[in-house]
Symmetry: D2
Subunit: 285 residues, 4 copies
C-alpha cells in the first residue's frame, strides 16, 4: 500500500513557515520524504510548498490531523492548503472527438500503472473510438453534440461526470466547452492545444504554423478557463521541422509531441504537483 | 584554395530539370559534390535546388559559363538562379546596441574560421562595445541615433555600408530600421528576435514570456522586411524554463539560444543555403 | 495509387554520375521527385545516392527498365544499386518478449498508416501479448525458447518467417539470435537497444546507467550483426534524467525514447532511406 | 550585498531532520529562501539537503552559529555538512592547452557576472592563449610540461595555485594530472571530456564517435579522480549529427556542447549545488 500523503501550501512569504510545517508533521509522526518550495520573493512575495509525507505512524486520524494543521499552522500564516492521499487516486474522465493519439497514449500509460488515477470513462461526440476504448476495459459514452442544442449535450455530459470525475481531460476534444461547464470544474479541466501557445491560438494551428514557416512546431497542455486557449500553461514541448514538411506532416510529427505533453501534464496533476497562481503554474516536478 | 561554387535555382517544377542542369555542368567540366532539391509538388509546384560543384576543370570562364547556363538551361525552365563562389566570401556588417552576446559569438566564430565571410565593420548606436570589437581587429563605428533625426543616422550608416556589406546582421540592434533602409538590402538583413516568433512580437519578449507563464523560451533569426518581426524565418530554437525563473533569468538563458540561432542563420546565409519563397524559407542544410 | 519508385546507389565517386542517372531516367519518362546524395570525398571517395521518381509515364516495363539501367549506367560506374516500388510494401515480422511498449508503438503507427509496410506477424517467446496483438488484427505466434534447444526455436521461427518477412524487427526481444539466423537476414534485422550505444552494451543497461550516474539515458536502433549490440547504428536519442530517479524510473523514461527511436528507424528502413557502408549508416531523411 | 548562505547536508535518513534544521535556523534569525532535499530511500537510505538562507538577522556570528549547529543538530543526525557564504566567492584557476572555446566561454560568462566566483589565473602548457586571457584582465601563466619531468611542471603549478584556487577547472587541458595532484584537490577539479561518457574514454573521442557512426555526439563535465575519465559526472549534453559530418565537423559541433556543459557544471559547483556520494552526484538545480 502506498502510504504517501501530499500537502500543498500557498501563502504570503515570511520567516518560519518551513519550521512550523515540518515540526508540526514531525510531532504527529509524519515522516517527510519530499519537500519542494518556491517563493516569488522573500519580502512581500508568495510562498509555495509541496511536501510528501508517510502516514503509517500518524498519531491522529486524517480528519483530526487536518483540523489540527488548520488550527496550529495554517491560520497563523494565512495559508491556502490541501492534503491529498495517494491511496485515494483521482477519478479521470477523458473527452475526445476523432483523433485517437492523445487518448490512446493516456489509456496505454494508465494500463501500465504510469498514470496514478482511475480512468472512469471516455466521452466522445463521435462513435469512432468506442472499440479502442473498450479494449482497455473503460466505459465509452457517445454524446452527440447538436449544433443547435449544445446545452443538451453538456447537460448529458454533466450527468455522466457527476461523482465520477475529479479531473476532466480534453484529449483533442474539438468542441468548445461553455463558460458554465468550465466554472463547474475550476482548475480541473486540462486541454492539449496543438501549438506552442500563445502562438497559433484557435483553429488548425498546424496550417497556421506552415503558413508562417516556423522551424519548430509544438504542443501546450493547459488548464481550461473561460477564455479560449488562454488558461494557465502546465507543460509545452516542440519538435524541429523543415521546409520539406507539408501541413499533414506537421500534424503527424505534432501528434507525438501532443500525446507526450498531455500525458506529462495529467500525471503531474494527478500527483498534486501543480499550483495555479495568477494564471501561471508552479510545477513541482 | 576552396574551388567550390554554388548554384541556386527556383523555377516551376517539371520533368527534366535535374538532368538538364547536371548534364550541362558535367559537359563543362564541373564536378557536382553536393545536390539538394525540394519541390512543393510535382504537378504545378515550385522547384528549388542547391548544388555545389568544383571549378578547377571548367572549360569556360565564369562569365561565359554563366551566360551559357542562362541560354542553354535557365531560359527553358524559367529559372531564377544565381551562382556564387566560395573564393569570394560575403562582406558582413554587424549592427548592435548594448548587448554583446550575439555580436561576440559571431566575432568569435568568425575569428576561428567558422563563419565563411569577412566581417568588415561593427556599427553601434552606443560606444560601449568598441574595445571588445577592436580586440578582434574589426573596425567599430559609433553612429549616434538622434530620436528627432533618425534619417541622418541611417544616412551615415548607408555611407559606411556602401560597398562594404553584402549582408547586414542585426545582433540585438534595438533601433527599428526605416522601410527605405530595408528596401535597400532586400533579403540581406538578418535579425535575431528574442522570442519564438510569432509569439511575443515587439518589446521585451522575455517579460511577455514570463507574464504568460510559458515553459520554453526561444529565439528566432529572420530576414528583415518592412513589417516588424514578420519577415521569413530562417532558424529558431528554444530552451526549457520553469516557474523558478524571473524575467532576468529568462534573459540569461535566452541569450545562449539567441547567439546560437543567429550564428547558425548567418552561416547558412553565407553558404548560400537559403532560398526565400513567399515569406517562407527553404533552408538546404 | 502511390507510383513512387526509389533508386539507391553506392559507387566510387567520380564526375558525371548525377548527369548519367538523371538523364537516363528522364529519357525513359521517369519524373524525379526527390534526390539526395552524399560523398565521403570527391577524390577517391564513395558516392551514395537516393532518388525518388514517379513511374506512370515510363516507356519500359520494370524489368526492362532495370536491365537497361544496369547496361547503360550501373556497369560504367561500378554501382551497387537497387530499385524498390512503394506499391510493393515490405513485409515486417516483429519479435518481442514481454515488454509491450516498442511493439505497441509500431502496431499503433502501422494501424494509422504511418509505417509504410505490412506487419505480417508477431512472434514471442512468451504468451503475454497475444490479445494486444490480435486487437490490431495481426497474427501472433508463441514460440517457446527452450534454453537447452535454442536451434529448435529458431528453426520454428524460420519456418514462420519464410516468405513472410522482408525485415525482422526486434522490439525488445530478449533472446540472442544465433549467428546463423543473423546471416540469413543480412541488413534486415533491426534491434532496439535500451542505451546510448556504445555505452552500456549487454544486460540491464538502465541499471548500468544508474550506477554510472549519467545525466542522460538513451536508446539505439541498429542493424543486428553477429557481434552483440555492435551493428551499424540507424538512430539514437536521449532523455534528461537526474539523481532523483531510481533504475525503475530510468526504465520508464527510457521506454518513451526506445519506442520513438525504433519507430523512426523502421520507417526509414521501409522507405529505403538507409545505406549501410563499413559498419556505418547513411540515412537520407 | 548578497547575504545568502548555503547549508549542504548528507546524513542517514530518519524522521525529524527537516524540522530540526529549519527550526534551528528560524530560532537564530535565519530566513530560509530555498530548500531542496533528496533521499535514496526513507528506510536506511541517505538523506541530502541544500538550503539557502538569508543572514542579516542572525543572532550569532558565523563561527558561533556553525558551532551551535554542530552541537544542536549535526551531531544528533551524524551529518556531514558545510555552510558557505555568497559573499565569499570561490577562487577559480583554469588549466587549458590550445583549444580556447571552453576557456573563453568561462571568461565571457564570468566577465558578465554569470559565474559567481573569481577567476584568479589561467595556466597553460602552451603560450597561445595569453593575449585572449589578458583581454579579460586575468593573469596568464605559461607552465611548460616537459615529458620527461612532469613532476616539475606540477610542482610549479601547485606553487601558483597555492592559496589561489578553491576549484581547478580543466577547460580542455590535454595533460593527465598525477594521482598526487588529484588527491591534493579532492572534489575540486572539474574536467570537460569531449564525449558522452562512459562512451569514448581516452584520446580523440570525436574520431571514435565517427568510426562508431553514432547519431549524437556529446560532452561530459565530471570531477577528476585518479582513474582517467571515470570521476562523478556533473552534467552532460548531446547534439544530433549525421553521416554527412566528418570528424572535423563533429569537433566543431561538439565544441558548442562542451563549452555549455562545462559552464553549467562550474556554475553549479560555485553555487554549492553539488554533493558527491559514491561516485555519483546529487545536483540541486
Amino acid at each position: 500500500m502506498d502510504n504517501t500523503a501530499r500537502l500543498l501550501i500557498t501563502c504570503p512569504d515570511k520567516p518560519g513557515i518551513v519550521s512550523a510545517v515540518s515540526t508540526f508533521l514531525y510531532n504527529h509522526g509524519a515522516n517527510i520524504t519530499a519537500l519542494d518550495q518556491h517563493t516569488t520573493g522573500p519580502e512581500g512575495g508568495t510562498f509555495f510548498m509541496r511536501l510528501e509525507f508517510q502516514t503509517p505512524h500518524l498519531d491522529l486520524s486524517r480528519s483530526l490531523l487536518e483540523r489540527a494543521f488548520a488550527d496550529a499552522v495554517a491560520r497563523q500564516f494565512s495559508m491556502q492548503w490541501r492534503i491529498t492521499y495517494a491511496r485515494e487516486p483521482k477519478k479521470i474522465a477523458v473527452l475526445v472527438s476523432r483523433h485517437d493519439h492523445a487518448l490512446l497514449e493516456m489509456l496505454w500509460r494508465w494500463s501500465r500503472g504510469q498514470l496514478p488515477g482511475v480512468i472512469t470513462m471516455v466521452i466522445s461526440n463521435h462513435p469512432d473510438l468506442e472499440q479502442a476504448v473498450r479494449n482497455f476495459g473503460v466505459p465509452f459514452h457517445h454524446v452527440v453534440v447538436d449544433k443547435n442544442d449544445k446545452p443538451a449535450a453538456e447537460a448529458r455530459m454533466r450527468e455522466l461526470l457527476h461523482g465520477n470525475a475529479d479531473v476532466v481531460v480534453l484529449a483533442r476534444y474539438m468542441q468548445i466547452l461553455s463558460a458554465d461547464m468550465v466554472r463547474h470544474y475550476p482548475g480541473a479541466i486540462i486541454n492539449i492545444h496543438h501549438s506552442f501557445l500563445p502562438a497559433f491560438v484557435g483553429a488548425d494551428p498546424y496550417r497556421q504554423a506552415y503558413d508562417k514557416g516556423v522551424k519548430l512546431v509544438g504542443a501546450t497542455a493547459h488548464y481550461v478557463t473561460e477564455e479560449l486557449d488562454m488558461g494557465p500553461i502546465i507543460e509545452q514541448d516542440v519538435v524541429r521541422v523543415s521546409h520539406r514538411l507539408q501541413p499533414a506532416h506537421l500534424r503527424e510529427l505534432g501528434r507525438d509531441v501532443e500525446r507526450n505533453v498531455l500525458a506529462r501534464a495529467v500525471k503531474w496533476h494527478l500527483e498534486d504537483r501543480i499550483i495555479v497562481h495568477e494564471n501561471r503554474t508552479v510545477v513541482f516536478n
